[in-house]
Amino acid sequence: MYAIKAVGLTKRYKSITAVGDLNLEIKEGELFSLLGVNGAGKTTTIKILSCLTKPTDGDATVGGFSITKEPDSVKRLIGVSPQEIAVAPNLSVKENLELICGIHGFSKDKTAANINELSDRFDLSGCMMRKVGKLSGGWQRRVSIAMALISEPKILFLDEPTLGLDVIARHDLWETIRSLKGKVTVVLTTHYMEEAAALSDRIGIMKNGRLLEVGTVEELKGKSGTDNFEAAFLSIVKGVGTCE
């Protein structure tokens, strides 16, 4: 069964097509990356799939539910970490995590257990009682991603998750994302090629709202006739016309 299946997904803003005729299938437990330069349509795709934006045309099922007809059911299955840090700044780290657990209707015991687990995974125990607004950008991002994970989503959308993280934090987060493989379907957007290559089962390359190619790193290299992933990406992206 597919965790996500998009058919003809399109989003237009007046004369601009942010996402055009997107057809995509992502398997359960797969780690799928959307790779592309700025303005490629990665974030809009995530916004559509997470029911934040309605598509102009087409539809998609997420966890078997239509994003246009059953958004409430979709919202119970997903976790989203937006590109910008999405935290309540005057609340402590613990309170932010509790907020998401409360919204998802978790019991006190389950909330405490999930907070403990994520505290260990993201090394948050030292700052659990501190206001998130007082933490550095990198730590705020960790909290923001932990908030996406604490609801135990079946499908997780991570929009540029390592933006602004230092090398160590980035690699720590990579490990966390890898540990989700097979258990959670992860859709990740990035413009870092090494990140997409290191983490993904498959990669979709986008440009100007179009999905140009989909495949594993090896398949994409094979399609462009190169043994270097960056060269393959450039070949695929430059092989198509420039933006509207």
Binding site: S50, C51, L52, T53, K54, D72, K75, R76, I78, V80, S81, P82, Q83, E84, I85, A86, V87, A88, P89, N90, L91, E95, E98, L99, I100, G102, I103, H104, G105, K131, S144, M147, A148, S151
Partner: protein, 243 residues
């Protein structure tokens, strides 16, 4: 449950913002103190504590609009609301979640004003309780107005509109500083069409035990509360859909 969780979060965000809170709660008290001191040094009855305090409580509620608008506008400008829109929270949860914690804050502000006025010479009677209850429609008006402004404007605009313009309008058009009968003309007419003067008069009437006059003034306030709440709900849901 979901809505209560969100409401708790909103309450914490407001109560943990010391500058807004001190200004919102402190400013009406400073005014009360200052105007009472002025009254002590002038020969006419301009700022008698028994008529001044009910007026100040109504004026103080304009800061609740500022709290409400700032919270919504800040949330809209941050990615937090975007994240929360992808959760099972519904439009109803958001609206009630924003409004609910502000009501006890507004009532608390009014109670503090009355308690503060007691050592300044305020007549203590059961009517204070009626006056506190009677302020609820105006509190809902102010909270909804904040939700409306927060849904339409950004944080900076909200500061200007709710922080400066609304507080001044509330002060001038509620007759707290001066008797609008003395000014007359267009200002008095305009004030009559808006809820501020009616809320202040209703509050004064409740405090003095004149329930008949209070009822006649509370009606337009309730009407405005319903109208502004409906508009705020419409605008909030519209911007939520626009996301």
């Amino acid at each position: 449950m979901r809505m209560i969780t969100f409401a708790k979060r909103c309450g914490k965000e407001i109560l943990r913002d010391p500058i807004t809170l001190c200004f919102g709660l402190g400013f009406p008290l400073v005014l009360l103190l200052l105007l009472t001191a002025i009254q002590g040094n002038i020969p006419v009855n301009l700022f008698e504590i028994d008529t001044l305090t009910p007026g100040i409580t109504v004026f103080g509620l304009s800061f609740i609009t500022l709290f409400s608008a700032t919270l919504v506008a800040k949330d809209r400008e941050s990615a937090l609301l975007q994240r929360l829109y992808t959760t099972p929270l519904t439009g109803f949860d958001f609206i009630i979640g924003y409004m609910l914690p502000l009501l006890p804050i507004a009532i608390g502000q009014v109670v503090i004003c009355y308690l503060f006025a007691v050592p300044l010479g305020l007549t203590v009677s059961i009517n204070i309780i009626y006056a506190v209850i009677g302020v609820i429609p105006m509190a809902i008006f102010n909270i909804s107005l904040g939700l409306l402004c927060g849904s339409l404007f950004g944080v900076k605009q909200v500061g200007g509109i709710c922080g400066a313009l609304l507080t001044n309008l509330s002060a001038w058009l509620s007759g707290v500083w001066f008797d609008l009968e003395l000014v007359g003309g267009p200002l008095k007419k305009t004030a009559g069409f808006l809820p501020f003067i009616h809320a202040a008069e209703a509050e004064k009437a409740l405090f003095s035990g004149d329930l008949g006059t209070a009822a006649s003034h509370i009606f337009p306030v309730i009407l405005y509360s319903v109208l502004i709440t409906a508009t705020a709900v419409f605008c909030f849901l519209r911007q939520m859909k626009k996301q």
